[in-house]
Symmetry: C2
Subunit: 105 residues, 2 copies
């Protein structure tokens, strides 16, 4: 159900993983708990309410997301999700997947 | 092993939970993956290598930490840890604990 965890490098790989995520879950709600803006970067802790497209079940999770920009383009994004929480809600075993790191180049 | 997860409010509760953490694990290594500095706030994704004081075993984890300051004092801190990763390393069951939120006031 979550094949998109892990590290991706390069624009195409990053766009592909974003397409994967959109194909598997749909974002129903998105609340920012705390956001920090740097000069060319941003970080947020968000609460997401997702819906699995396959099972139509709701998945609630907290997610920390870090993004870095250069010349108005995203060059690095890192996300950290509490996957134990995710496993409890999904009732499936997810082998050693911890977080998602993407680099657009 | 991890009684310090959950939300704390107030200076004394926050200091108490920090003392608890220091009593349970010792930080052996601490590498910042990405740091974002705002005007009165900061966020970091860090890789920590901890040692359990009781069992002397190593615990590696990634942690997202958000802090907000006012008049040079910490007023809010939020942390998100991948607890599935933690459970795998600890081989114990941790019931529904997802993250740590502390507010100093």
């Amino acid at each position: 159900m979550f094949p998109f965890f892990g590290s991706r490098q390069g624009k195409h790989a990053v766009l592909e993983v974003i397409r994967n995520i959109a194909g598997i879950v749909q974002v129903q709600r998105f609340d920012r708990e705390m956001t920090i803006l740097g000069l060319d970067s941003a970080a947020s802790i968000v609460r997401c309410l997702l819906i699995s497209r396959a099972s139509k079940t709701q998945i609630a999770l907290r997610l920390a997301q870090f993004a870095q920009f250069k010349a108005a383009r995203l060059i690095k994004m890192r996300a950290l999700i509490d996957t134990f929480d995710l496993v409890e809600q999904s009732s499936i075993h997810l082998p050693n997947m911890s977080s998602c790191v993407v680099r657009t180049r």
